[in-house]
Each structure stands twice: as structure tokens, then as C-alpha cells.
Symmetry: C2
Subunit: 492 residues, 2 copies
């Protein structure tokens, strides 16, 4: 298989697909819109999951698991929710196959029709709030802080590996609170958890903000989000945290007695991130040689490649040096592989590990070892250096940290350079067409204007940044007064 | 809510359900046959998953993720497989809901009918082997050692929490090999991983064996299994490992070139354990006071309960002692909670933690502390002891290990006492009816006899134990010659 990939300049979308397929992150499947997550992609997801899971537990959440199926009637209990999700639901109508008596092979058994159809969960608010009704009676049962790791299905017509697939993996937090303020605090706290994860682990800087009414989750009073900027200047929503008010509590009649014995509906939040984050990770850092992974999430952080020597003593020294280095690195929690497969050449291995995004590659050759050095290559910049064997382990550990920082700073610089103010319609359109990126512009606050801008430019309001500067201005489309700029972009 | 549970003697099935519900392991859901796994149940599953996952990785396996849906036509490609699973499949036929124009609420949109129906995976051999076709060309691609953690759905008419549910969580390993021998070796290796996990972590002794032809997995050449004995004398299949021969490779046309460039079909295995293991865990160790958990899997291993003192200095000493003890325990990887909630009484807490199966409970009271001791209670035997504060941490760590061993030995003794030989039909029936447990008996080796015995007694052949003693005898039903005894039992 050729490992050549399309360059970003030639065809950004093809470059992305090439990386996903050729680095072995995912594959297409026989089921339209569903992907196979291959071992490297899944190992990356496991690392992301483990960090997030720890962060959720540290903020007091517990995991649980709710049914994959949702009775059809549940979907319509919250009016906005059904409008948002009914159009893309996989529906289970039967529970048995049988042999066609007319010889047509295996068919659906018409006698095994369900009384009420079941929806494969597109998100679990309804089944979970139906359960919470039994779990919550008193203020003593609150807050209820639950998270679920699960697969969900949204029937998508146009899919892209990781970014938009019919089935995807995610986590969904669903919390219940006694007061509005506490629920809003939770919503914001989890947004900050996501932002911290994106920035400190994924090395992806994000804008924290609130969605406009048009872009809100179906059933939410407010949707908070983190927005990242990809290398092609398009934005990507990397996580959302919803303040659901009492909408679902009212739809499923979940009430509680407070300390004064008053009955009230419970306040809710939900929040989620998905395997889409892998798409964000790829598009933030990777280059024309393949995947680039931040060290904190890379399944393999360091690879050691021997330059085989025919001299047995020299080869033994290479092996010993590798063994000692691996011992040091592993003792420091670094994942490292010694690739001493003698059926492939070093050059082939170099290209392979570049494709797979391994942050640091160390080549050990007999001549270098005679000079007490090794060649250390970093994936982010491609730089190679001759590094003394004395303290090589410490050097590599420092380098991993440096790469993590560099990836973040590089992405931050890119975002800063690609966030522009527009003060007129012409300027707005020109930036979108010629430079892309985030555009900070005034908007009159109406859904109609937002819709019109989307129609004309395909740009959407990504968010109203938190702690946004208040500044009087005029809407770029209508000229009507505006109290603040909002962030526009074309988006994934 | 009353925490009283039915005793095992009065109603074993009700006792089991009481524990699941009242210890907070799982709950019924609004979807028939599907359960909600509550935080304690899920934490237990996470611990089991983490240990198994480590064992799989140590034996060279990688995780991946395949689609939830399987095209209907795939199910019928392997003849035995479709017979085994078609009768219990959830079938997706549509991909959209809409508002009924006649005012009937939300209905399935008849225009959104799938061309080919999709089955919600009951197991993933078919979709995975369809994928392997693209992944395997040469002996260099083998062995392919993949595991998946996933939810699966089998439409069950009679369900029981954890033991038999329509949706359940599991892992399924799917491996591909160049030779028959290597695949059989893998099948046996993974059976041994399961057996080790059951015995060393769950503290559940298991019989390793092979299924009779009648009880084989649909599509397997051989099904290996581990069988455990529950406290009511019924057996429970705790894990299976299948040698699939070339059946799926032939059904999905997966071939490879060997080193001599010959083309052959690939050899396969699959193996799985599920959330059913939680049912096995409950029924192996628990008692009439509630859940009993083996320390190695307990989400909370130790709980410290203060006996509140009104004397501030005495209370401070209680708090300080708890803090120091927690520090020691946590430094040794022990999960411990200090329950200093002052709204519930110690007696209530004792009952609560007994119900939830916490292995060790430590009570700290002012008077005890004056005497430099604490009260340490172990959940498995109910014994309480006054233990010196000096070295209390080490004592508790040793006690956890002792409890783990005791649970295993107790279960092993029970199994030994409840495994009996029967040499006549009358004896066989009498044991089953009066004593239950495993019955070791001769069988003529035919499926007909096996079926007849099942009809007459509800007992099935649980397995032909590995390394079974060869002993000539006569079949208990037909009197025909038999070369070895096999293990019968009524089973879950």
C-alpha cells in the first residue's frame, strides 16, 4: 500500500481522509455512515477517555449505563427535543428474523412486530430523565451527578470519518440539581473541564462561549460550547454543555421536596464530547507527512529504531543501549517501543512512524554510539539532533513536554492570526472567502439575521465568547445596533 | 426504603433480585428486558473490565471498535450462525420519525424505509470477518488479535437483571490465524485468561471444559467454557472461548498467502465475557445481609465510620486517626472512604455498607481510641475484632488479602461438596432434585441422549472437563458404553 498522502494545499479534505486511513485510525464499514475504529484510533480514544473519566470523577461524577433503546413515545415528551432528533433516528420495529417460506432467504418475521417502536438513542436525556423520576424524591437525592460512556446513532446523510458518522462513541453527563444557579454552575464547570482537556491534553486552544438560540441543543435553555479552529480555517465544535432548565424534569415529571417540604421540578444539565475529538486532533496538528499526536495522548510516545550493524559487538551495544533507555523511559511512565523487526529497513520505519504520529523517534547506529550519541527526531518540527547518551532519557522526557507545549502554542498562534474583526459586510465576506478563520463581528441578535448570514455565506455564529467585551456597534448585515461582537466561521 | 432482603432459604430468586436492587447495582428500565446499570454496578464492571483489558493486552491483543449494526444479509452467510441468532434479533427498518399528518403524534416515516434492514449486533463475527477480508492478505498480516468492548442485543423473552438481559455489555475477542493449531492454542489461552480472572479476582472457582456439540456456539467447531457453581446449586456459564475453524473465513472469503505463496482460508477464534459475570459474583459470595464483594474488585474496599463524640478533643482524635489511616491505605492502593456524614447514625451506616458489600468496615469511637484500638469488621464472616492502632493500616491490608482468599476457598469448598458422582438414573435424578450441584456422570456421547436428559430433568451437560479422567462406564440414561464422565447441572 502506498503511504503517500495528498498535501493539505492540494486537497484538504482528501488529506484528512488519507491520514485517517493510512495512519490506521479508522476504516469505512459495510454499513453506510458507520466506521470501524482501528487499533490506533481506538487506543487514542482510550487515552482521551481515561483522562476525561478521571476529570469527571474528580468533579464528583459517577458512571452508570442506560438502555440503548428509547421507546418512541419518550422522544416526543419534550417538544423541542423531538424536533431536533426525530429526523435522524434509527428505528427498531421487529425483534426476529425467519426463513422466507417462499425461498427468499432470511427475512424479517412480520409476526415479530413491536407494539411500540424503539429508537436507537441519539442522546439519552429522555430515557435518563424517565429513570431519574424513580431516583429523585427529596433534596437529599440531589445533586445527582451521572456520566455515561456509550455509543449513539444519528442517521446522517453525509458522513466523514470521525467528524460525522451515523454511529459514534461519546460520553454524556446528565445531572440533576435543586436550584437553577447550581445547575448553571455545573454547566459552566463541565465546559471548563472540556476546555482544560482540549488545551492541556489535546494541545488544541478553544474559545469558550455560548451558542445563539438557533444553534442551541434541542431542549436546552442555554448551550455552552468550546470551539476550535482547524488548519483550513474552518471551526469545529469540540464539546457542548447544556443548561436544560426544568424542561426535561417537567416532560418526565421529576419533582423533589426541598428542606421546607416544598415540591418543585428538578434543574438539569447535560454535556458531551465524542470521537469527533479525534477529527479535531488530526486537523489541528497533522502535516503532509501524516499524523502528529500530542505526547500526552499518543499511544506510543517514543520509538527506538536500530540501524542494524553486521558487527555482533556493535549490534549488542545498540540493543543494550535501547534496553537501558526503555527502562529509564518506562520508569517515568513514557510508552516506548523498540522496533527491531529486521524485515524492514530503517527508512521505511521512519516513514511509518511519521505517518502514525509518534512524537519522538530515536535512531541508534553503531557509529553514533561510538561517539556516545543518538539521533533524536521530533515529529512536530521534523528537527533532528545528535544527543549525548548521558542523560538521554531525561532529554527525551523534556522533549516530550516541549513538543506538547509547542503544539499548543503553534495552534494558538494560528488561531490568533486567523481571528479577525470585520466591521462591514464586504469586509466580512472578503475575510471568509479569502482567509477563512474566525471573524469577530457585530450582529443584531435576531435569529432571522443569523439565518440570512448563513444562507449568504455558509458562516454560522460559533459562539458568543464568555466574558465577551461589551462594545457598541452596528450589525454587519442589517446595520441595527449591537452591544457586542460574536464569533462567526464556516464550520465542520 | 426498607433495606430488608428476602433470605436465600425463603426464596433464592427473590433474594438475588433484592440484592441487585437494594445494593444499588442495577434497576429495571422502561424498555422491556433492558436494565439500567447503577453507579455501584457500573464501578464493579469498570474494575472487571480494567483487569481483563490488562490481561488481554498482556497477551498481545489490541482493542478496536466495529459497527453496532449488521446488514441482514451478513447474518445468513454462515449457516449455523443464522440459526443460532436470527430468532432473537432487534431489527432496524427505518431511519426517521415524523409528525403524523392525521394528528397521531410522532410516527415512523414510511418513506424512510431502509433498502436492507440492519440487525443490532447480537455478536460481531459477521461484521468483523467482513472487515478482516480487507485487512488480511498475507501471513504477514497474521495473527490478527483484536478485542472489542461493546453492547450487544439479544431479544430475550424471560430476562433477569445481569443474568439475562436483552441488551448487555461485554467484550468479544476476534482473532485470525495462519494455522489450525495456532487458533486452537489461542482459544485455550483465552479460556485460561478467563479462568484466572474468575478465580484470582472474582474469587469464583471454575471448571474449565469443552461444550458438547448441542451446546456449542452457533458457527463454532469447538466451544470451550468456564463453569461456576452458584449457592443454590445451579451452574452458571461464566465465559466462553470458541474455535471457529475456517467457518467464518469461508463465509466471508478471507484468505491469505502463506510463506510459500499458497492461498488458504484463515483460522479463527472468538471469546467473550459479559456483565453476566456480575450475576455470578453476587450469587457466589453474597448472604442474607446483602452483597459480599471480593476485595480485588470492590469499588470501595474499606469504609471508616466514626462513632461521633460530643467532646471536641475526642472527635478531633477520631478525625485525625481516620485521616492517618486513609493516608496509609491509599498509599498502598486501597480505596477507602471516611463516612463522616452526621445526618445518619452509625448503625444505619453499618447496615448500608453491609448491603453494599464493602469488605472491611472500621469503626472509630472515642473510648476505643483511648485504649489505642479500633473495631475492625470483615464482611465475609461478619467477625469483629479490636485491633491496635499501631500497624492498623498493615493489618487492614493483610485482612483484605485474607478475605479474598477466604471467599475463594469457601466457594471452592462449596463446589467440592456439591459435585457428586451418579452411577444410575435414579441416583442422578435424586441428586438433582434433593441436592442440586454438579453431577458427574457417564453419557453415551449422542445429542439425542443429551436432549432427552434435558427434557426429563432440566439438567444440561455443562462441559466435558479439560484433562478429564478417562474411565469406562455406562450412560446413565441409555446404558450404552461411555469412555468418560461429563459434568451435568441445572443452569442459569
Amino acid at each position: 500500500m502506498s503511504k503517500e498522502i495528498t498535501s493539505r494545499k492540494d486537497d484538504y479534505a482528501q488529506w484528512y481522509n488519507d491520514i485517517v486511513l493510512k495512519a490506521g485510525l479508522a476504516d469505512y464499514s459495510a454499513v453506510k455512515g458507520c466506521m470501524v475504529i482501528k487499533p490506533l484510533g481506538y487506543a487514542l480514544w482510550e487515552n482521551m477517555r481515561d483522562v476525561l473519566d478521571r476529570m469527571f470523577k474528580e468533579t464528583g461524577h459517577q458512571n452508570a449505563y442506560f438502555p440503548l433503546f428509547i421507546p418512541k413515545s419518550f422522544m416526543s415528551k419534550e417538544a423541542a427535543h423531538v424536533d431536533g432528533f426525530a429526523k435522524e433516528c434509527a428505528v427498531v420495529t421487529h425483534y426476529r428474523l425467519k426463513n422466507d417460506p417462499n425461498g427468499g432467504g432470511v427475512i424479517v418475521d412480520p409476526e415479530a412486530k413491536l407494539e411500540e417502536e424503539l429508537i436507537v438513542r441519539p442522546t439519552s436525556e429522555t430515557i435518563i430523565w424517565n429513570t431519574y423520576k424513580d431516583w429523585i424524591q427529596s433534596y437529599r437525592d440531589l445533586p445527582l451527578l451521572i456520566n455515561q460512556w456509550a455509543n449513539v446513532v444519528r442517521w446522517e446523510m453525509r458522513t466523514r470519518l470521525f467528524l460525522r458518522t451515523t454511529e459514534f462513541l461519546w460520553q454524556e453527563g446528565h445531572t440533576a440539581h435543586a436550584t437553577r444557579d447550581e445547575a448553571i454552575e455545573e454547566t459552566r464547570k463541565m465546559l471548563e473541564v472540556y476546555a482544560t482537556f482540549a488545551e492541556q491534553y489535546m494541545a488544541v486552544p478553544v474559545v469558550r462561549g455560548v451558542k445563539s438560540a438557533n444553534e442551541r441543543f434541542a431542549g436546552a435553555e442555554d448551550t455552552y460550547c468550546i470551539e476550535a479552529l482547524m488548519q483550513d480555517g474552518k471551526a469545529l465544535q469540540a464539546g457542548t454543555s447544556h443548561f436544560l432548565g426544568q424542561n426535561f424534569a417537567k416532560a418526565f415529571d421529576v419533582t423533589f421536596r426541598d428542606k421546607e417540604n416544598n415540591l418543585d421540578h428538578v434543574w438539569a444539565t447535560s454535556w458531551g464530547v465524542s470521537t469527533r475529538l479525534i477529527g479535531a486532533l488530526i486537523m489541528s496538528h497533522s502535516d503532509d507527512k501524516g499524523l502528529v499526536l500530542p505526547p500526552k495522548l499518543a499511544p506510543m510516545q517514543v520509538v527506538i529504531v536500530p540501524i542494524f550493524s553486521k558487527d555482533a559487538a556493535a549490534q549488542a551495544k545498540i540493543n543494550d543501549t535501547a534496553a537501558a533507555l526503555m527502562k529509564t523511559l518506562r520508569a517515568n511512565g513514557v510508552s516506548v517501543k523498540y522496533d527491531n523487526d529486521d524485515t524492514t529497513r530503517p527508512g521505511w520505519k521512519f516513514a511509518e512512524y511519521e505517518m502514525k504520529g509518534v512524537p519522538v523517534r530515536i535512531a541508534l547506529g553503531a557509529r553514533d554510539l561510538e561517539n556516545n550519541v543518538a539521533e533524536v527526531a521530533r515529529r512536530d518540527t521534523g528537527e533532528k539532533a545528535s544527543v549525548s547518551l548521558d542523560g538521554l532519557g531525561e532529554h527525551v522526557i523534556g522533549l516530550l513536554s516541549e513538543i506538547q507545549d509547542n503544539l499548543y502554542n503553534r495552534a494558538l498562534t494560528f488561531r490568533t492570526e486567523n481571528t479577525r474583526k470585520a466591521d462591514s459586510w464586504d469586509e466580512f465576506v472578503k475575510i471568509l472567502d479569502e482567509q477563512a478563520g474566525f471573524v469577530s463581528a457585530h450582529w443584531d441578535g435576531t435569529g432571522e439575521t443569523e439565518e440570512k448570514i448563513k444562507e449568504l455565506t455558509k458562516a454560522t455564529i460559533r459562539c458568543i465568547p464568555l466574558n465577551n467585551e461589551q462594545e457598541a456597534g452596528a450589525c454587519i448585515l442589517t446595520g441595527k445596533p449591537s452591544a457586542q461582537r460574536v464569533l462567526f466561521a464556516r464550520a465542520y
